[in-house]
Amino acid sequence: MNAFLALIGRDLRLAIRQGSAVGTALGFYLVAVSIIPLGLGPDLNLLSRIAPGILWISFLLSAVLSVDALFQEDRDDGSLDALFIGPLPAELIAASKSLAHWVTTCLPLIVITPLAGLLLNIEPASLPKLLAALLAGTAGISFVAGAGAALTLGLRKGALLLPLLILPLFTPFLIFGVGAMAASPGAFEQSILLLFALSVFSVAAMPFAAALALRLGLE
């Protein structure tokens, strides 16, 4: 457990002191959100109606594109090999990486979401719902993306391949995430519970797939 916490602490410190990766993800998120009205026209009613969908899609894209480097640096400088020799099982290494991704990328993205929602004229009443849905669902997103990053580790076309592999798997997250905004009674509670279920399932299952893929990548 100590090793697990130490590994997370190391990733958090690296993220804070380097900073560039988090900044890039945030910048990408804001650009993706603000380029969509340019294509759709400045109709505020339309934008406020589709704002949750745009925010979720931009969020997923930012998460996928930022996860590409999850294991890359550690593999390049050899620290991933060192970690594998250490006492921590590969599954926990993968889990700690995904958790660190959630804390360093998804949480800042959630924090900045009200600002992005402002650009899209999102209804103030639906903003807390959206934030709750993001909090419930994005842990699962980080863990699914972590497995994808482990699979494409060290591939030449990895950056392009990863979204192709991972985005179809995000379908349920997107559907329930946007479904939480629906006006029908009970839709919010139901969606949030399903998002939690998805997250719990991904957190439990995906580290095993990621560990298999990492062992393969380090051979």
Partner: protein
């Protein structure tokens, strides 16, 4: 693997004997012509029945698309199940033939999925008035198609065959676990977003006059799939043997490739 060859585990022994590449080549070489002939006969019968079937009272002549569409859709799912089972077999036992099976099945499955999508949208035009509606079934088959594309792309992105096979196996198991969840979520999404504006035609049951050709066509498609899969597996095994022979030739040492291709498979 030596743990499996205990005398009492004769069942596993028999499976292992069938899974030997050269035994597979011998057996499949015998079966394949018969399978191809059976496919041709079944398709001749199925297509004749399909064209002689009476038109549906609601859908008219377009119902004949069903005889292609439904078997293709069923095979698109059956093929993914086969890939998932093969992948599990490869990851657990590292058996090369399981990898060959998974690799050979992916493009065939993707083709059947594409066929189901195309025939579905051709059927949708007269029925729904649009080539594409975000119907729950269409959507989940489309996502299945993307999963197939991802599998093929991942395999192509890795040069080393053994690594490529295991990476694709891991991905296909992730996909297999997620497919039921995706299917459920898409159904949920469709009922949420789509009120009863699109009324699905088609009665509660299929008339026997339409059911019989459908069944024959489903069997024909299944046998076609088995034949194609067997042929693709044979091609893949031969390709790996060629690669191994080239590698041995280039290396220039006197070692012989084993005639059953086992030296080839553990790259």
């Amino acid at each position: 693997m030596s743990g499996l060859s205990e005398p009492q585990s004769t069942g596993l022994w028999r499976i292992a004997a069938l899974a030997n590449p050269s035994a597979f080549m011998r057996l499949s070489g015998k079966f394949l012509p018969w399978l191809a002939a059976l496919t041709a006969i079944l398709f001749a019968a199925g297509l004749t029945m399909a064209f002689r079937a009476p038109p549906d009272y609601q859908q008219g002549e377009t119902v004949r698309i069903m005889f292609i569409h439904v078997p293709a859709a069923w095979l698109s799912m059956a093929c993914y199940s086969l890939i998932a089972i093969s992948s599990a077999g490869y990851l657990i036992w590292r058996h090369p033939l399981a990898d060959v099976s998974a690799k050979a099945a992916a493009p065939i499955g993707a083709t059947f999925t594409l066929l189901a999508l195309i025939t579905g949208s051709l059927w949708g035009k007269p029925m729904w008035g649009a080539y594409w509606v975000w119907d729950a079934r269409l959507t989940s088959v489309l996502i299945l198609f993307f999963l197939y594309l991802g599998l093929i792309a991942l395999r192509q992105a890795i040069d080393e065959p053994g690594r490529a096979g295991r990476a694709a196996a891991i991905l296909s198991l992730i996909g297999a676990v997620n497919i039921p969840i995706i299917k459920f979520s898409v159904n949920w999404w469709n009922t949420l977003h789509q009120p009863a504006s699109v009324i699905r035609a088609g009665g509660p049951t299929i008339h026997p006059a339409l059911l019989m050709p459908l069944l024959v066509m489903a069997i024909a498609f299944t046998v076609l799939f088995i034949a194609l899969h067997m042929k693709a597996m044979r091609a893949e095994i031969l390709r790996r043997r060629c690669e191994a022979m080239i590698a041995i030739h280039v290396r220039g040492d006197g070692r012989q490739a084993q005639p059953d291709g086992t030296a080839v498979s553990h790259v």
